[in-house]
């Protein structure tokens, strides 16, 4: 589905990183919904007319952590089918296993990857 414009929900509490990710996704012809907290993301998910094609999720969020948010996404019938890519700087095996068990497609370390590659990763899982 190369020509379809994707909508990506990005959840990242570091403003600068959120800005970089959003900018790069837009350059790559994606629509971006940027959220800097878990609560904001849940609000968007509840109220968006069209569900996003994929979610880009950080592990540590200001108000909650990725596992709590992922649990809510996983339990909701409408949201659980949205593919999720976790991009975090903290990747202990325990966190990674829990996230993968909750249906996360991939768990990657931020500082280890180019933005280009991460954008390709999220396109790949949609």
């Amino acid at each position: 589905m190369a020509n379809k414009k994707l909508t990506i929900l990005v959840i990242e509490d570091e403003v600068l990183l959120l800005e970089a990710i959003s900018k790069k996704l837009k350059i790559n012809n994606c629509d971006v919904v940027s959220c800097s907290s878990g609560e904001q993301a849940l609000d968007y998910l509840k109220n968006l007319s069209r569900k996003p094609n994929a979610i880009w999720l950080d592990y540590y969020l200001g108000d909650s952590n990725g596992i709590e948010l992922m649990q809510k996404i996983h339990e909701n019938k409408t949201w659980s089918s949205i593919p999720v890519l976790v991009v975090s700087n903290s990747a202990s095996p325990e966190k990674v296993h829990k996230m993968l068990d909750l249906g996360v497609k991939k768990y990657l370390i931020k500082a280890e990857h180019r933005l280009d590659d991460l954008v390709n990763e999220i396109k790949d899982i949609t």
């Binding site: 990183l17 970089a20 095996p93 500082a111 180019r114 933005l115």
Partner: protein
């Protein structure tokens, strides 16, 4: 005891110190020192235990006299297992007359069965060339261990915190270099590349520090799986192919077709190979050859990685596995290096029950050998894995 009979002190006036007086002085020294002190006879029976030792070991100074030291004061290894009699240094010291110092590896067991980490020195008492007993001095190093743990934890936390700003720098730079914010001129592009190289170097440094703190803290998970070292090294080679191809280097790999699988943690072993290969590539000139040989010798599988590179100066070779060491001959030639790689490699190999050694000649090249037992590495529970 030689403490009393072998010294010939005198008072300032020149009068010899009376034996009684000397005894009082020695007794005061023994009672007031903060370190634990135990004296045994040549059979290892306790003759004396000073107040610091009785306090630390929760023993009764009078009741222990005449008892066997090894039975009275058991020692445990870092896993909490009691050290068998024949492995206690006291036996060797009494048999050979050689002193033995154990800085951190052992625990002493108190009379109430609780344990504490101790730095222990066991020395012989020699009279007329004959071993007549031993002196054991020790310190409770609980506090030192705690400080060390806090240091490791701090490094781990600080490194994690550094990753976030480093990600921001890396990603914005990438966009600038890509021209995502408009075109950059030639000189700007060159400067941006320099900034980018330094950022990547800093990310590697942070990752190395994190990996070291994981191993030093003992929190690392060791998950051995049947692994074919030949296949593993081929995978690592694939990862570094671009690097050696860009330097026109040739890599020759050789291993026996029937090389058996061994039970090692593939992620940890991969990190070892990756570090050694990266070094061989980085510290060898263009067009040179790197040789890898994996072979089975008795109960060991030996991996040999040789290069025809810059080598390590003889005078510095004892520092090769020290943290932050970089060869004086390469430090200006090859800029991207943290000095942490080989320290990490050695720590991994040691935690995998293996051995590592090397030979090197400046201007000719370096060979590293690692040996892993065919019996494999023991599994270890933990919280963290490498490169996470």
């Amino acid at each position: 005891m030689p403490l009393i009979t072998q010294t010939q002190n005198s008072q300032p006036h020149g009068k010899p110190i009376e034996l009684k007086q000397k005894l009082a002085i020695d007794e005061a020294i023994i009672s007031s020192v903060g370190d634990g002190l135990i004296v045994t006879d040549k059979e290892g029976r306790i003759l004396l235990m000073n107040p610091a030792a009785t306090r630390m070991l929760k023993q009764d100074a009078k009741a222990v006299v005449g008892k066997d030291l090894i039975d009275t004061v058991p020692a445990a290894d870092k896993n909490g297992k009691i050290v068998p009699k024949e492995n206690r240094p006291l036996r060797t010291v009494l048999a050979t007359g050689q002193s033995f110092t154990n800085h951190a590896a052992n625990f002493y067991v108190r009379s109430d069965k609780s344990k504490f980490p101790a730095a222990i020195t066991t020395s012989p008492i020699i009279l007329n060339k004959e071993i007549i007993g031993s002196i054991i001095t020790f310190r409770d190093i609980t506090h030192e261990k705690e400080v060390d743990r806090m240091k490791t934890e701090f490094i781990s936390l600080a490194s994690h915190q550094l990753r976030t700003p480093l990600s921001a720098i890396r990603w914005f730079l990438e966009m600038l270099i890509n021209g995502d914010a408009g075109p950059v001129n030639k000189e700007q592009a060159k400067f941006l590349k320099n900034v980018n190289d330094s950022t990547l170097r800093m990310i590697t440094l942070v990752n190395d520090l994190l990996n070291i703190s994981r191993i030093e803290s003992g929190r690392i998970i060791i998950e051995p799986k049947p692994t074919h070292l030949g296949k593993l090294i081929e995978e690592v080679l694939e990862e570094v192919r671009l690097k050696y191809k860009s330097k026109n280097q040739k890599v020759v790999v050789s291993y026996h077709p029937n090389l058996p699988d061994i039970n090692v943690d593939p992620n940890l072993t991969r990190a070892v190979y990756l570090n050694l290969l990266n070094n061989a590539i980085k510290y060898s000139p263009e067009g040179s050859e790197i040789t890898i040989i994996i072979s089975k010798k008795g109960n060991e599988i030996i991996s040999q990685i040789s290069d025809n590179g810059f080598g390590i100066p003889k005078k510095e070779q004892y520092r090769v596995f020290q943290k932050f060491y970089r060869g004086s001959n390469i430090v200006k030639k090859v800029l991207d290096g943290t000095g942490l790689g080989l320290y990490l490699v050695k720590s991994i190999i040691e935690s995998s029950s293996g051995k590592i050694w090397f030979e090197s000649e400046e201007g000719k090249g370096t060979t590293f050998w690692i040996s892993l037992p065919t019996s494999g590495t023991a599994a270890k529970k933990g919280e963290v894995s490498i490169n996470s």
